[in-house]
Amino acid sequence: MLTVVKNYIKLLYKYKVLNISASMEYKVSFILQIVLMILNNASFLIVWGALFTVNKSIGGYEFKDVMLLWAISSSSFGFCYVLFGNGRKVMSLIINGELDVYLLQPKNLLFNVLVSETSISAIGDILYGYIILIILGADIKLWAMFSLFVVVSGIIMAMFGVIIHSLTFYLNNIKEFINNMEMLAVSFSIYPEGIFGGFVKLLLYTVIPTGFMVYIPVSVMRQFDMGLFLEVIAFAVFETIAAIVIFNSGLKRYGSGNMMNMRG
């Protein structure tokens, strides 16, 4: 068992090194992707800064809470797509019959598919969250808790993606639905929880997991609560199991294909 885990970690490391090396072949593009992503994220905080000159609190959040919200949202998004770079491509892999290459390899299919790609711009997202922590003057406890939530929230985001992309096995081309669901999850994660109520709030703790991805982590980082912390961990475990079950069940309906393609 230990050897198996070791082999998977080694494979994960090799995939990341290979993908980053491939992107570094074009060094200007590589650096620009990361830097521009940091600048893009920073522009939103400038807007928030302007809003907080009018109101001291928006939806129960002060400016530094919004910064923390952006930090966790950005870094967990980045972690998700640096680690699981193919997370946003599962639908096209299914539709275009591109799972064949992975099915011929002796590794867990979902793991192999997800980790085999790396989003380079997402490195900028990870860095941006930590830059905010530096600006906030976070102590060691906050750094540790933040890093833990980056991993857990990143996994929740990835597994949410796997669930909606796996519906492709049953519903065929649902590109617009998937794009909208992904956009909703991210869009809700960059606004204070307090501005949403009723049905929308219910959605954010059920169908769209933004509540578990960012709202509870921000709340726990503001004031530690073991119960809420365990809730996030439990949800991550539940969503991972759901994603594995839905993906593997759908796989029996996989139709492959004959498209000519290259990896890159």
Binding site: A22, L104, P106, M260
Partner: protein
């Protein structure tokens, strides 16, 4: 010993029927109708260890679907498959350690990196240690004459060089069965010959079972002793290449060059396929007429040159496809 056994294999695909135009789109949206297509129907065959088998058929015959079921990519609708004693769908991971696949139309290499980087990743995928991987890469590099090309980005390689690199990638874990799906597609004759020689050596040296699909009859003639022809998802012929060539169609071609233009009647059971000046091409059905009798019918004193040959395999196969 059989390494592949297939019994009563079926695979059906369900596809939506859409009538033309906007009206058809509306109908398909609210009242969809589906068509069930039998991609593979009641297929049964076995392959012995070390055999080189050509599995051929026209486009859409069910070749790729069968290979994908044998390798665990697709789930069959019904039927039994055993590859090296494994059920490919239930034991996909275990089987993957022992089989390989080369697909002429799908690359598994990272195009912006040298092939050697991809090989090292594949070594990790197959749990091969770093030292063992280096040894294996050196071996394959020598056998496939890869030289410096494995250190150049794949995107800069010619198609032939890339295909040699693809084959090496599929052999990194020393598979016992290798599936070749049109490996010579688009290659020039010299590279084709090199690849055929390598596949032959691979089979001879390691007794690797080769399961081969190709539309290139040259590949089949040069490599395989047995041919399975599939059409519309069913086996229409399973025989040795020798039997296929010499027994299935008893026809010969006689090319004759005369010293002057001659006019032959369609006698002695011969059929004039082509006549251009002093050159005549005659097709003979040897079941009805012996070659000797046909030659005796010709004005032998005017013959400058004569050549007797089999009907090209391509034509035989095309005729079988057409039946």
């Amino acid at each position: 010993m059989n390494v592949i056994e297939v019994n009563s294999l079926n695979k059906q695909f369900k596809s939506k029927i859409k009538e033309e135009g906007f009206k058809g789109s509306m109908k398909a949206m609210f009242k969809p109708e589906y068509r069930i297509k039998d991609a593979v129907s009641n297929l049964g065959f076995s392959v012995e260890k070390g055999e080189m088998l050509a599995f051929i058929g026209p486009n859409g015959a069910g070749k790729s679907t069968t290979i994908k079921m044998l390798t665990g990519i697709l789930f069959p609708t019904s039927g039994d498959i055993s590859v090296l004693g494994f059920n490919p769908q239930k034991d996909r991971k275990k089987l993957a350690y022992r089989i390989g696949m080369v697909n002429g139309q799908k690359s598994q290499l990272w195009m912006h990196l040298p092939a050697i980087d991809s090989y090292k990743l594949f070594a990790s995928i197959y749990d091969i240690g770093d030292k063992e991987a280096d040894k294996r890469i050196a071996e394959l590099s020598e056998v496939l004459n890869l030289g410096d090309i494995i250190t150049q980005p794949v995107r800069t390689l010619s198609l032939g060089q890339r295909m040699r690199c693809e084959i090496a990638a599929s052999l990194i874990h020393k598979p016992e069965i290798i599936f070749f799906d049109e490996p010579t597609i688009g290659l020039d004759p010299v590279v084709k010959q090199e690849i055929r020689k390598f596949i032959k050596d691979l089979n001879k040296k390691f007794n690797t079972t080769v399961f081969f699909t190709s539309h290139d009859v040259g590949d089949i003639e040069k490599l395989c002793k047995r041919v399975i022809i599939v059409n519309n998802g069913q086996i229409v012929l399973d025989d040795s290449l020798k039997n296929l060539k010499y027994n299935y169609l008893n026809k010969k071609l006689i090319d004759v060059k005369f010293n002057e233009e001659v006019y032959l009647d369609d006698v002695c059971g011969m059929e004039i396929v082509k006549q251009k000046g002093c050159d005549i091409k005659i097709e003979v059905n040897t079941k009805e007429q012996s070659i000797k009798n046909v030659i005796d019918c010709l004005p032998t004193e005017k013959i400058v040159d004569i050549n007797i040959s089999d009907i090209p395999l391509e034509e035989i196969i095309a005729e079988i496809y057409g039946k």
